[in-house]
């Protein structure tokens, strides 16, 4: 399925927040996770992840730290804050509301609601 780019943009923040909720991470790993989760259907331009991460940092949803692993290059790690968790919870409520509404007008797609309930 081709996903509209507005929808990709809208889902980017909750996706990144949710990935960071599993533990701190860095840019490339986050992107790989997005690809795996969406089975390649969410087409992200790799570079765009970074302005998004920086916005989350400015809003206080994540903290950052530069760290150099013994074998590798210096890289910036992102870690979710309590504010970020709250924002994620808020996003989840919004997406549940949206999917529920869509589900109501599309009676055939019962699978959608089930998917949401499992969240």
């Amino acid at each position: 399925v081709h996903i509209d780019k507005d929808l990709v943009a809208a889902s980017a923040t909750p996706l990144v927040l949710a990935i960071l909720a599993d533990g701190e991470s860095y840019g490339y790993a986050i992107l790989k996770r997005v690809r795996a989760l969406s089975e390649g259907e969410l087409e992200w331009t790799d570079g765009m992840l970074y302005p998004l991460l920086h916005r989350l940092r400015r809003l206080g949803y994540v903290t950052t730290e530069w760290r150099a692993p013994p074998e590798g290059r210096r890289r910036q790690y992102y870690k979710l804050t309590d504010d970020g968790r709250a924002a994620l919870a808020d996003q989840q409520r919004q997406w549940v509301a949206v999917t529920r509404a869509l589900n109501d007008v599309w009676p055939g797609s019962g699978g959608l609601l089930r998917a949401v309930r499992e969240v």
Binding site: Y26, G27, Y28, L31, T45, D46, G47, M48, Y50, P51, L52, H54, R55, R57, R58, L59, G60, T64, W66, R73, R74, R75, Q76, D83
Partner: protein, 446 residues
């Protein structure tokens, strides 16, 4: 492998040349690129092929740079942010338009001056309307630059029309205090009106409000520079022409008002188009003067507290202190707007807290003295205006001190400090508007 390394280096240099992307961002992007290449090579591609795919996936540099600019608007807050997707950032005729508006303002002030007979006569309407002769041109300049629609133009023009009516229909007494207050506060009100076209109508955006604060600080710096240069030019002209028997005062009468009015628009244009110049200079100035002002304020606060002068401020001292508080607030605001939000608290933040806290204590003392005076002698227009200004400042400084203390101990994000100031900006505008609109009738135009 050799060739990939050089390709990466080239790519890195290319990305680093994008205006809104800084060194750390490039490091981060490069790390990403290398990961991607490594993974693709493991999957069987040659490093060269991996490089090509990784670069392609990274996205178009223009789009990427614009995204960075949108987020880090402080790094380059106008060029990319305000330019539409593919139109050139600034056309070559940009300066022509700026100078046309500057010339219009210069002519307008000259017509008004001739009508007033200034400086032989000094009718009060001239001083009262001064802002209205110049600032509409600046507003129109921005309205054109931001390509406002009809609604935007109407919303830009309406406050000027209202101000012109209010200021000129009120029947002020002769030697009226309220009239002087209006002359002092109207330019402030009109400056806030300019925020609307400056922000292209998006006045709710806190980021754009911060841009406007930054613009105000940088405009001020440019204006002072132009004024200094103009002063030197005038002095030299006088020195050269006076021996030849030319009446230099007559020349100054013509050149000074027009120059001062035109410079308002030229300075705004310079801020917009020569951003990089002032961007380097302004943080240095604020870094230089914030500690000095902090020191001066701290010393003054201690001296007043120890010597017990706290109760005996006289009128002149009160107005000096008020001016000082406004300057400190300006410095703090500008310092906030020029700061990189993501860095952790540093010594500049501590110094700023000292400045804000000292200003707060001074403000409390000034307020105490003022309330005592009002208690003894009752309300007058001047005292009311000063009291209001001090209360507005007190709330702002208290909020700023509280938040920056919490920021220093790591309890709140820097973002909150910015938010506090940008949320508070309309309060200043409202208070100045109150002095212009409400105070004169309240005191019977005395």
């Amino acid at each position: 492998m050799e060739s990939v390394e050089s390709q990466i280096a080239e790519w890195r240099a290319y990305v680093a040349s994008a205006p809104a992307v800084n060194g750390h961002d490039v490091d981060e992007l490069e790390d990403h690129l290398r990961h991607q290449i490594a993974e693709l090579t493991e999957a069987g591609l040659t490093p060269d092929e991996g490089f090509l795919i990784a670069v392609k996936r990274m996205g178009h540099l223009d789009a990427l740079s614009r995204e960075f600019a949108r987020e880090h608007s402080g790094r380059l807050w106008k060029q990319l942010v305000l330019a539409a997707d593919d139109e050139p950032v600034r056309s070559a005729s940009g300066w022509l338009e700026a100078f046309a508006f500057a010339a219009a303002a210069a002519v307008a002030i000259q017509v008004a001056r001739l009508a007033a007979g200034f400086p032989d006569e000094e009718p009060t309407w001239f001083a009262r309307n001064l802002g209205l002769f110049v600032l509409p041109f600046l507003a129109a300049y921005f309205a054109r630059q931001r390509q406002l629609d009809l609604r935007g133009w109407v919303l830009t023009a309406a406050p000027f029309a209202v101000a012109a009516l209010v200021v000129n229909l009120y029947p002020y007494d002769a030697d009226s205090d309220t009239e002087i207050l209006v002359a002092l506060h109207l330019p402030v009100v009109l400056w806030f009106v300019i925020a609307y076209p400056y922000m292209g109508g998006t006045i709710r955006s806190h980021e754009r409000r911060m841009d406007f604060v930054r613009f105000t600080g940088e405009w001020f710096i440019y204006y002072v520079l132009i004024a200094l240069g103009g002063g030197v030019l005038m002095a030299l002209t006088a020195g050269i022409l006076e021996p030849a028997g030319v009446d230099v005062d007559r020349i100054a009468e013509w050149v000074l008002p027009s120059g001062a009015a035109g410079a308002v628009i030229v300075a705004a244009w310079l801020v917009e188009s020569k951003q990089r110049v002032v961007e380097n200079m302004a943080p240095v100035l604020s870094m230089l003067f914030t500690p000095l002002f902090a020191l001066m304020l701290a010393v003054a606060t201690v001296v007043y507290a120890v010597t017990g002068l706290g109760g005996a401020f006289d009128r002149d001292l009160l107005s000096v202190l008020d001016a000082l508080l406004v300057v400190v607030l300006g410095l703090v605001l500008y310092g906030l707007s020029a700061r990189e939000p993501s860095t952790s608290p540093g010594w500049m933040d501590r110094i700023q807290l000292v400045a804000v806290a000292s200003a707060l204590v001074l403000d409390v003392m000034v307020l105490g003295a003022m309330i005592a005076r009002i208690g003894d002698l009752g309300f007058t227009p001047n005292r009311t205006a000063a009291l209001g200004l001090n209360l507005v400042l007190l709330v702002n400084l208290a909020g700023a001190a509280w938040l920056s203390a919490r920021f220093l101990i790591g309890r709140v994000r820097f973002h909150r400090l910015e938010r506090w100031q940008t949320t508070y900006l309309p309060v200043f505008a409202l208070w100045a508007a109150t002095v212009v609109v409400v105070l004169p009738p309240l005191f019977g135009f005395s």
